[in-house]
């Protein structure tokens, strides 16, 4: 109890310094949590696009980005004819821009695609999709930022398209995207006869392994992966995740430096007191534990404050109209745990030098210290 009191007393003695350190850790944790959660959410949304009513995705082997993947239309036709396949939907991804909107995601899909079949149509007729080459269906948010209504003609990229429907979807990318007939998209993006991926739904999930083997045997340039497998192995996702953790890690490292500074100052200003503890029988280990205890308290308080701040920030970002549907505020418990652990490790790392310094303090010298 007295030991804990010593830890708290030492932190209270320099309140402002301790609070600054706590704030440093809190901001770092909030930054890490926000960046990681947003990117995890984005990855989740992108995975969601791919896994709409499907469990396997087929794409060109060894491409770094699905936008560069070219899957021949003939392959889609052949695969859809396999008895084990319930349906195979070719999807072509493209990015276009319009006035004031530099990035609009386009999906070239067939009328049978689950994204068209199963979406909530706010206006328009699903059966009218793909009857004309210039028909497009807009996601609700895309319709908002393009100020488009049913039957309007909207400029998208180098073309003008007729809006035949507006649909609502929970996925941020789809909600802010434009759905074109596959053939129109192929022509628009100069990718005639190909799609980016084929999303596959099997009649029986047990056939997954044999389906993948068959793809490998039949199409040397293609690969079939289960959705979860794809999410794990897709290099873009790996880069995004690594970037998120690296950015967060840098923030946390800065927070750790703040803790180190606080602990160093804390030790330097009570050298005599530490000498007295030595005279009273405290071992180096006990004094080191006291220093680590102080930094652990700072880190934990910072982590808790950071989690609260990060969560508030995520909710605030979700309310920003431009980001509507793009920010997923669901914080994964594992992310929360990792962030707390990293904060704790950072704090302890920050106390390493001060603790090592303390063990070198000679009581007899320190007693003369004024």
């Amino acid at each position: 109890m007295i030991f804990l009191k010593l830890i708290v007393t030492n932190l209270r003695r320099h309140r402002i310094r301790s609070l600054i350190s706590i704030a440093g850790i809190a901001f770092s944790v909030a930054a890490m949590l926000t960046v990681v959660t947003i990117l995890q959410g984005a990855i989740g949304m992108f995975s969601g696009i791919l896994s709409s009513d499907s469990e396997i995705i087929v794409f060109e082997r060894n491409v770094s980005d699905l936008f560069f993947s070219n899957v021949p239309a003939a392959a889609a036709e052949e695969i859809s004819g396999w008895p084990m396949v319930a349906h195979a939907d070719p999807v072509l991804f493209g990015i276009v821009s319009s006035a004031d909107h530099p990035i609009i995601t386009c999906f070239g899909v067939t009328p049978a695609d689950a994204r068209i079949r199963k979406a909530i149509w706010l206006t328009g007729d699903r059966l009218a999709f793909a009857q004309h080459a210039d028909d497009v269906v807009l996601g609700q948010r895309a319709a908002e930022f393009l100020s488009a209504k049913l039957d309007d003609h909207v400029p998208i990229g180098h073309g003008v398209f007729h809006v035949i429907g507006i649909l609502k979807t929970a996925n941020g990318f789809e909600d802010g995207g434009v759905f074109m007939p596959l053939s129109s998209a192929q022509s628009f993006f100069h990718k005639e006869g190909v799609s980016s991926v084929i999303t596959i739904k099997l009649r029986n999930k047990d056939d997954t392994a044999s389906f993948k083997t068959k793809i490998k045997a039949k199409f040397a340039n293609l690969i079939g992966l289960e959705d979860a497998e794809f999410t794990r192995s897709y290099s873009q996702f790996k880069i995004l995740k690594a970037t998120a953790w690296a950015v967060g890690g840098c923030g946390l490292a800065l927070g750790g430096l703040g803790v180190a500074n606080t602990m160093i100052m804390s030790v330097f200003t009570r050298i005599r007191e530490i000498a007295i503890l030595r005279v009273c029988g405290f071992s180096h280990l006990q004094i080191g534990a006291m220093i680590f205890g102080e930094s652990a308290v700072v880190s934990l308080l910072g982590a808790v404050l950071g989690l609260l701040t990060g969560t508030c920030l995520l909710y605030a970002l979700k309310l920003v109209p431009a980001l509507h549907g793009y920010v997923d505020v669901t914080i994964q418990p594992v992310v929360m745990l990792i962030v707390i652990l990293l904060a704790l490790i950072t704090g302890i790392a920050g106390a390493l030098y001060p603790a090592a310094y303390v063990t070198r303090i000679q009581a007899v010298e320190a007693l003369r210290f004024e």
Partner: protein
């Protein structure tokens, strides 16, 4: 020349009761440029009170630090109950159970209460809280601090602070109390009262007291008064 200043009684029984011993102890600073102790020999028996008198810089405090294991001699041997002090394994046990320190400045932790300050040695030694509290109340009663246990150090007078330091030093029932000018920062009246208390408690508890002081009137009240000068104990003076 260095004298072997033995415990008051030279009979074998008294020798067997020697708790503190310095044998030909030398100590210097600045790579030998300043020689503070020059072959000091000293013995103190259980329950004995020894006063070290001498001018500033003569080595009194250095000798106390060596007895407490806070510093190590360049040459010679310092032992407590026959166990050499400057071995790390012995040192912690020594500081926790065998030796208590009282300094000229009270050296208490200002943000803690009197009670918390006194319990620090029990925390270091892993003594359970109940035992620590019982001992504290016993000492507080003797030193007249019972009413002040919950007070912060800033709220205490100079005499109370020094009495608190005395309580802290005696918390773990040490066998030896090393006091470096324990009343040096107090006025004459308070100094007398604190010293009286010190003598009374060490007598009751059977603690050996080795005290460095400039105050000869206080020093004379100890069993032995040793004169230190130029790094040596010159000769014992009958107290």
């Amino acid at each position: 020349m260095s004298l072997t200043t033995r415990a008051a009684n030279h009979d074998p029984a008294s020798q067997a009761r020697i708790v503190l011993r310095a044998e030909d102890v030398w100590k210097s600073y600045d790579d030998g440029a300043i020689v503070v102790l020059k072959g000091v020999n000293l013995e103190a028996a259980k329950g004995e009170t020894v006063a070290l008198c001498g001018p500033s810089g003569c080595g009194k405090s250095t000798l106390l630090h060596l007895f407490g294991g806070l510093d190590s001699p360049d040459r010679g041997r310092v032992s407590v109950n026959g166990v050499e002090v400057n071995r790390h394994r012995n040192l912690l046990r020594l500081l926790r159970h065998e030796i208590g320190f009282v300094f000229q400045l009270h050296n208490l932790i200002p943000d803690l209460t009197l009670e918390e300050n006194c319990l620090i040695p029990t925390v270091a030694a892993g003594i359970d809280r109940r035992t620590g509290q019982a001992r504290l109340h016993q000492l507080a009663e003797r030193t007249g601090l019972t009413e002040r246990l919950g007070h912060r150090i800033q709220k205490l007078s100079g005499g109370e602070r020094q009495r608190t330091a005395l309580c802290r030093a005696l918390m773990n029932r040490p066998k030896i109390l090393l006091a470096d000018e324990p009343t040096g920062s107090l006025d004459e009246h308070t100094s007398g009262a604190v010293f009286e208390l010190l003598l009374e408690i060490v007598a009751t508890e059977g603690v050996t007291l080795v005290m460095a002081t400039h105050d000869r009137s206080l020093a004379r009240r100890c069993n032995r008064l040793l004169e230190m000068h130029d790094g040596r104990i010159h000769e014992p003076v009958s107290a």
